[in-house]
Symmetry: D2
Subunit: 311 residues, 4 copies
Amino acid sequence: MTFPAPLTGVVPPVCTPLTPDREVDVPSLLRLVDHLVGAGVDALFVLGSTSEVAYLRDAQRRLVVEAVTERVGGRLPVLAGVVDMTTPRVLDHVAAVTAAGADAVVVTAPFYARTHPAEIARHFRLVAAASPVPVIAYDIPVAVHTKLPADVVLDLAAEGVLAGLKDSSGDLAAFREIVTGARTRPDITGFSVLTGSELLVDAALALGADGAVPGLANVDPDGYVRLDRLCRAGDLERARAEQERLCALFGLVSVGDPARMGGGSSALGAFKAALHLRGVIDCPATADPQIPLSPQEVQRVGEYLAAAGLL
Amino acid sequence: MTFPAPLTGVVPPVCTPLTPDREVDVPSLLRLVDHLVGAGVDALFVLGSTSEVAYLRDAQRRLVVEAVTERVGGRLPVLAGVVDMTTPRVLDHVAAVTAAGADAVVVTAPFYARTHPAEIARHFRLVAAASPVPVIAYDIPVAVHTKLPADVVLDLAAEGVLAGLKDSSGDLAAFREIVTGARTRPDITGFSVLTGSELLVDAALALGADGAVPGLANVDPDGYVRLDRLCRAGDLERARAEQERLCALFGLVSVGDPARMGGGSSALGAFKAALHLRGVIDCPATADPQIPLSPQEVQRVGEYLAAAGLL
Amino acid sequence: MTFPAPLTGVVPPVCTPLTPDREVDVPSLLRLVDHLVGAGVDALFVLGSTSEVAYLRDAQRRLVVEAVTERVGGRLPVLAGVVDMTTPRVLDHVAAVTAAGADAVVVTAPFYARTHPAEIARHFRLVAAASPVPVIAYDIPVAVHTKLPADVVLDLAAEGVLAGLKDSSGDLAAFREIVTGARTRPDITGFSVLTGSELLVDAALALGADGAVPGLANVDPDGYVRLDRLCRAGDLERARAEQERLCALFGLVSVGDPARMGGGSSALGAFKAALHLRGVIDCPATADPQIPLSPQEVQRVGEYLAAAGLL
Amino acid sequence: MTFPAPLTGVVPPVCTPLTPDREVDVPSLLRLVDHLVGAGVDALFVLGSTSEVAYLRDAQRRLVVEAVTERVGGRLPVLAGVVDMTTPRVLDHVAAVTAAGADAVVVTAPFYARTHPAEIARHFRLVAAASPVPVIAYDIPVAVHTKLPADVVLDLAAEGVLAGLKDSSGDLAAFREIVTGARTRPDITGFSVLTGSELLVDAALALGADGAVPGLANVDPDGYVRLDRLCRAGDLERARAEQERLCALFGLVSVGDPARMGGGSSALGAFKAALHLRGVIDCPATADPQIPLSPQEVQRVGEYLAAAGLL
């Protein structure tokens, strides 16, 4: 399919359901795709952080892209993460996911290796030169431990290296600089600026963002689609109420006991527990070495769902 | 070969020479192996940070292990890094490097994903359970952004999960806690505590460490072997002089202009430039997206070599 | 005066003009106060980070509060920072600034000493117990290196310990949690939630904040008052345009060469240069050991002012 | 007294005993001074981090210096910390502590304000220019969140700005660079390089340091004096045994429950509890807002003392 320029709307980062022995549960994954597409989302993002991309073996990654692109069948764009440490390894993933049908690739700054901003820019240029599909930058300092500077992103947009940005930095002021720059610089067209926040979608759209990539949209895609439409219609009062309902629901990411498990395991475990409780996926297992939620913690996930009217 | 318990002495993390088009330069790699083995080092560590492991594609990693283990032919232990984000991906590397002949695997804490100390411990247990060879923990907070707690390392040593530690944390006080614990805890035997520092080998050995894994040993393996032997002989005055000569030589890692390139690129570029100037490898190229040293910066590497009596 | 509950609107953190020999320039300070009050701001905050509080001797701090409160004469509330490392030292500042006429005190978490969240909460309770005026929490992780947790702030609000929050954390999602909590928790009334951002005032007010404490309001108080009034009137299109004009003006904080001086020195130097160029203060000097802007950098400040229609 | 150039040996950072109502307990402080001087220490450092300098009001700081310098009566040098955020405030402390009799001042990099290395160097130059006594740099990144670069320290030593360094950075490799530079640069003489570590005194002295400033020396000054003398005598085996005994004793800093209190409160509380148990001070109270140790935690301090032969 032709990739939209710019991509807009709600783009869920799709969870990767696993079987009890930690293989990709394809039937559950396809039900999740239907659940999201049926809610009216605008595109799908597989192999992101919410998809446990860091935990998936190469063969599992390939299987996910193949299964999802086949199911979607061109109705929506499918973006695929190509998360790895440096350029040569990322390029291998680009080849794999585009062979499997991805419509765009989502690329972080290098990690593990420590790189200079000039090397980060070079990384994106090299990836874009070798990619048959558009490249979306993925700014996620909590994972890669560098922040993409706004001027670097804008210059790469102007060069045609980047087709968009997924911003998971939490820094809305820097995000605004990119949004405003993308709108006002005459050398930039069709660049998509997407927030990765669950909690500030209304604010991001109000200052000019093109869309959102909220992990919580796995659990409540209807809510985020509704929020997006209310914002676009200018109905700010109802938009804020919908956003605040979703903020309350987002509390489920903290059910895991921080003395016992990581915040990432808690959030990913809660998303999957919610999908399991809602009947979308068969098994809430997360990948190794993550600690699973306890039955009591899963029960609290259920309480969040009930409070949000989702059970 | 039977893996020594504990492993002791000088264990260079072997650089990975590349061709101008960034493929593994096997003839240069074999000359580098001969250069190191000929100097009397005690083991080799391939696919570590100094080997640019973060930049090597899977096929390149495999080729490195095969080439080195074949050349060594069992005369020395060959340790191989299995650096990747989480347990499932690390396990694929364990399978690959042990099939290629590695005598031990070197494993970091998970990265990109944020994990809890309990999940880090679980990671090492799962890797050890699936590995046919001993597991060495690799503590490198600058790359993975967590520090392995001393008590976790010691408990995993006592359980038989870990056969050793390579400490690149720069925290000699925490290192000492592990050295002392490994010597005094009755439930720990044969555990190898290795410093990754170039600059504190004499100090680490003095407080009881088993050996060192210094990247600079690529450039001057004779110096580190001499230093190790002087320390073991108790000739502390000459040991300190040798260590200080090596500290001065280590200044070459900073030749790269920090306004233009990262510290990692500068250090790796300088090691390779030095090996090229010394006639060991054919091409000083580093992997993408690293910025290469300028001719002036390479000339400064040569000055460091000359000052250290190596040219 | 009776302190408003909640305090709302535009609350500039007032710069502290200095003479060439680094004493407080009281006549310039009073002109600055008139400049701000004349623009219609809602309160003044002296001895904040923008006031160079960290650089002012105790006698200078006292002089600032005395001069400003006398000039204001009860027309507006005057908040005073009591920035110091720990409780006992902060209490001495509370005594000094309230004796000098401050209507509220603004208190950070402890710094230099590393403290636990329970100790941070205890700090605020002890300060509030001894303060004759309301206590506003000042969340500024870039200076104190801890972030005030949202639940701690809300609980202290409910206890009556805190009358408000100035949030300079840059984390709008956490800020929203406090805004929403302050509005919805039945045990909290009259709590003022203020953003310290220059760049997100429209967004902060849209999600329910009470006001803003933007350092750039020294330079363009009319702009921030206009922005505040447009937001309150629901004229979001013109509000966003005004905010974007102020975002562009804020670029002046980066005129200082980062190879030569700190970001703080650049921003404070630029604010003072702008006030000097606008004729408000006599001398743009900043306190020691800050490096001053060069003439070329000052000229660039003038270009920002001209572009914003302020010269 | 004439300040030694270089200062060498054991320099305890003296705890500040408090009364139950948090005033300086002068009789206990004087007993502590006698306890340290009687053990043969080489100098005293008051108003350091271990002295709770961050918690002491200005009047309390002055009282400490007056009481200690009077008791010492010139038998040993007394160094005094002048810990505050920036140059002007530090200069007020310099005036106060030198009026009260301090023989040298100990100065950190600026904090709270974020400064550039050039501004840090300027800070030390301005302080030294105004100080009637020698200036010792205090490198304590955990408190001030910047690391003093080795080359800056050495250049300031060569200029005569600095008379010494207390290194509490934990980075022994950078420390070594300063030690070696101070010994080998012809433009540096009489510069004292002191480690702030409790755990690596033997290693620091072996690589050429002049002495140590260990907080634990409050609890066991005899141990550190013995360790210093063994190292200087070249009796490395017994030195290492003594150091390891002190490392084990240092475990007492972790008795406080990290779920309930900060690491600093635990360490300072444990030092004071130990001094109380050993009969040196009357009251183990720490300053606000620190959480005190529980009776069970104090009992564990006693067990550490007993194990070290100190009860």
